[in-house]
């Protein structure tokens, strides 16, 4: 494991798919970004983007199963100054074509959260989840 953003570094952690886990997701991210020596301003933005993506899993992929005992995995990798954050969950399959901002008069957390993610990250990509995962979201950012 390296100590700087210039080298390779990967960490992952699983979390219960609950809104009460979002604070733990943020703590995990802050700890990893601290090790990567990412500056405070960018760190705050990245933590927000990751927390919004995790929130979307709770709110949308598990909309019909709020008391689930399923876990989601957040994986943060940094290679050659490129940050990649993977999210894995076993909830309802996400249709990437339906993931977009809401209209202005209908601002709800999902729409605004997705906007934040897209503003902060360079790329947002839904990949096919490999078993046992259903959804696999990848956010990337060049450091």
């Amino acid at each position: 494991m390296s100590e700087t953003a210039q080298s390779n570094h990967t960490e992952k952690k699983d979390f219960l798919v609950r809104s009460s886990s979002l604070k733990d997701v943020r703590t995990f991210c802050r700890e990893v970004f601290e090790k990567l020596q990412i500056e405070q301003n960018l760190k705050d933005e990245l933590v927000l983007a990751i927390a919004e993506a995790a929130q979307n899993i709770v709110k949308h992929a598990y909309k019909d199963d709020p008391q689930t005992d399923d876990k989601m995995v957040v994986q943060i990798s940094c290679k050659d100054n490129k940050l990649q954050i993977g999210f894995y969950d076993m909830g309802t399959p996400v249709d990437p074509n339906k993931v977009k901002h809401r209209e202005i008069d209908n601002v709800k957390p999902g729409g605004l959260g997705t906007f934040f993610i897209q503003e902060i990250m360079d790329a947002v990509e839904f990949k096919d989840g490999k078993k046992p995962w259903i959804n696999h979201l990848v956010l990337t950012k060049q450091l």
């Binding site: 809104s19 929130q55 601002v107 957390p109 959260g113 934040f116």
Partner: protein
């Protein structure tokens, strides 16, 4: 998140404290909206909020809209730097 509400004549100053995310946004909503619904002028003091996500921003937007409907005054005061940053990003969306 914790909060306290100061009462000054018809004004209610809601002091929010801590991190405001999906887990606690309903608590914030259920604190603020009834004050506006009751016709109070409402100020939200955000000086001690060190993190706010889209759930928290949505509560502020709902509050603003309700205050416009009720023709009451609603404002944010002493906005912390982390919240100001998120608000600035949200303004691009709005």
């Amino acid at each position: 998140m914790s909060y306290k509400v100061d009462e000054i004549d018809n004004k209610r100053v809601v002091h929010l404290n801590g991190e405001i995310d999906m887990e606690v946004s309903d608590k914030a909503r259920n604190t603020i909206l009834p004050l506006i619904e009751a016709g109070h002028e409402v100020q939200i003091n955000l000086s001690k909020v060190d993190y706010m996500d889209s759930s928290g921003i949505s509560v502020l937007i709902e509050s603003k809209k309700l205050s416009e409907q009720k023709k009451t005054k609603f404002e944010l005061i002493e906005v912390s730097k982390p919240v100001e940053k998120v608000l600035a990003m949200a303004r691009k969306f709005l």
